[in-house]
Symmetry: C2
Subunit: 174 residues, 2 copies
Amino acid sequence: MSLRHGILGLLAEGPASGYDLSRRFNDLLTHVWPAQHPNIYSELTRLNKEGLVEVQALGPRGRKDYAITDAGLAEIRSWLLNVPTDHQWRSEPVLRSFFFWVLEPDDLEKYLASEFHYYDETAKRYRSYVGKAERNEYGTHPRAKSLRTAIEAAARYHEAMAGWYSWAAQQAAD
Amino acid sequence: MSLRHGILGLLAEGPASGYDLSRRFNDLLTHVWPAQHPNIYSELTRLNKEGLVEVQALGPRGRKDYAITDAGLAEIRSWLLNVPTDHQWRSEPVLRSFFFWVLEPDDLEKYLASEFHYYDETAKRYRSYVGKAERNEYGTHPRAKSLRTAIEAAARYHEAMAGWYSWAAQQAAD
DNA sequence: ACGGGCATGTAAGCGGTTACATGATTCG
DNA sequence: CGAATCATGTAACCGCTTACATGCCCGT
């Protein structure tokens, strides 16, 4: 359950409403930590009760801007340093690879080519984000440096998968 | 919901009991698709009702050996070819990286070093499995080739993550 | 005025984990 | 004979997703 820490982390950058957070999650975070709005709203209510965030301002349309509290900042720091990182890697693409042998060679080759294409394209997209980051298009706040680090991870991940599929296609051809 | 297909895939290799499947999931599949036994037993019952698997033999201690049916084989092939692959990549390590900027530089450096160590070690372990596979220590059945492909994915993934942490540590040092 | 996006919430359901529970068999 | 392992299951819970529901405000 890292959604609460995801929310706290985003709020550490500055106040935001549940709606804002929902958009940010389904924008830049969508590949590494998807989150739907019902979840975010209920988590915000819980965090508020625990004193880790507070309602900083009310806006139009019942908008509530939340800000992180000192306790919230302490909580996210403590999470990063003291809670062991969850290294779990649930990968349907790799699960599928265990069963490639049941497919006809022709079908397998087509499948591998299309998967390669997906990861290759996505990797290129992330590399273009890296370019933006290098040109400071995401600002110069310290968090921009972290964002750049995260983008690098996504780029490397997708490149690794593309490389793997390309390798697998060659193997399958023998 | 790929557990059912994971089960079907393993059963395509040969008959097995729920207990066998449970061990295999928490052995070689544990990094890419963890599964607990209650889940497996209930899924087997459901698959049996749907005619995708059948009880092939009864053993001691109430053991039930399941075998995949033709319908089951057709189902897993159809899944591999016709159901779009889920590319979702939920990564707590990368989620954390978005928030690195809230940490003190010293703490961050220590964190990055320990994470690098984990992925580097794990990558080496997978590379040693690659060696075993190359020496045919997992047999010569077609599925051994698929297993080797899956192991390659795990090796590349952990190498990519190790490389990323190493790169991040250098970035953080500036 | 009205359509589209802003904004928040509730309720139901689902996949997966954890805890609880039981008994048979094998091995030392 | 006792401990460890084999083997299957039920029940409760939890995080997350999907569907449903409501209303306000802004731009055209």
